[in-house]
């Protein structure tokens, strides 16, 4: 990795961290675990499109760890990590299929993020009834995915990263 790459990665991690914090402060609380706007996903998406999968993945991982260490605990990090991982895989598949624009890829990310979190909760807390949250979580993931996708697309078209 060149120095420039490291600097860019550091900047994106900082940005993702700040967005996670903003999200943490947002008074959006409908009582369903895992229902989030996913602001930090803007950075993951921009990274996937601009600096490649591998670095984008490292960035996601570091963000989840940093946020868990700062705002919550390791048990909570399990939920975020499961969501982030499933979301990342879904976005990777979506982008590789070349069928969708960044908005479609973002929607896949948002939906699978929520599915991942609630599935881990079902297993860890041995409460299979949490499956009843799925339709609402999927709808929320879709709508926030559209918003995040449009924002990410706007950012991508404005920054020219030469790697």
């Amino acid at each position: 990795m060149k120095t420039k790459d490291i600097a860019m990665l550091g900047l994106l991690i900082a940005l993702a961290f700040v967005l996670s914090y903003v999200e943490y402060l947002l008074p959006i609380n409908i009582g369903i675990p895992g229902a989030k706007v996913g602001l930090a996903n803007i950075v993951t998406l921009v990274a996937i499109y601009k600096i490649g999968y591998k670095r984008a993945f490292a960035l996601s991982l570091i963000r989840v760890l940093l946020v868990a260490l700062t705002f919550s605990n390791m048990a909570m990090a399990m939920y975020s990590a499961a969501g982030a991982l499933l979301s990342f895989i879904a976005m990777l598949v979506g982008k590789s299929s070349k069928k969708f624009s960044i908005t479609g890829v973002s929607v896949l990310g948002g939906v699978f993020h929520n599915i991942g979190q609630i599935m881990v909760a079902m297993v860890l807390m041995e409460t299979r009834e949490l499956v009843f949250y799925l339709p609402v979580l999927i709808a929320i993931g879709t709508i926030s995915g559209v918003v995040i996708g449009i924002l990410s697309g706007m950012i991508c078209s404005r920054i020219k990263v030469a790697f």
Binding site: I30, G104, T127, E129, F132, A139
Partner: protein, 125 residues
């Protein structure tokens, strides 16, 4: 946005709506007067409380936190808790079989079990 994006977005939303409707119908038809809530902490059964009896109970979690479970008018909710996210407190009161309130920080779930029928279902599963 591509045409495929729109197909994806509306496809998912319609599917979610379809499942939401189906699940809601199932929940309503599987709830009777003997419905109760099951409280679990970290996957272990902590206690059960019938929905037709008004109560207010403090549930202490092993990590030192607490959630206050309230049952009134046949509905259960978490009135107060010392968890950081307050997601459990913000959840609407639950009544139908399968509805649940979750407190991830305290590893607590409160789930409605619909009554006699659901119990038999659960036993045979």
């Amino acid at each position: 946005m591509k045409k495929n994006d729109l197909i994806l977005i509306f496809g998912i939303l319609i599917l979610a709506l379809f499942f939401y409707g189906g699940m809601t119908l199932w929940q309503k038809s599987h709830t009777d007067d003997s419905a109760y809530v099951e409280v679990k902490i970290d996957g272990e059964l902590y206690g059960t409380y019938p929905l037709d009896e008004d109560i207010k109970e403090r549930i202490d979690s092993p990590d030192g936190g607490y959630n206050i479970l309230v049952i009134s008018d046949g509905k259960a909710s978490i009135e107060e808790a010392d968890c950081p996210d307050k997601i459990c407190v913000n959840h609407r009161a639950i009544h139908y079989s399968g509805d649940s309130v979750v407190c991830l920080p305290h590893k607590l779930t409160v789930t409605v079990v619909g009554g006699q029928d659901s119990e038999i279902d659960a036993a045979t599963n």
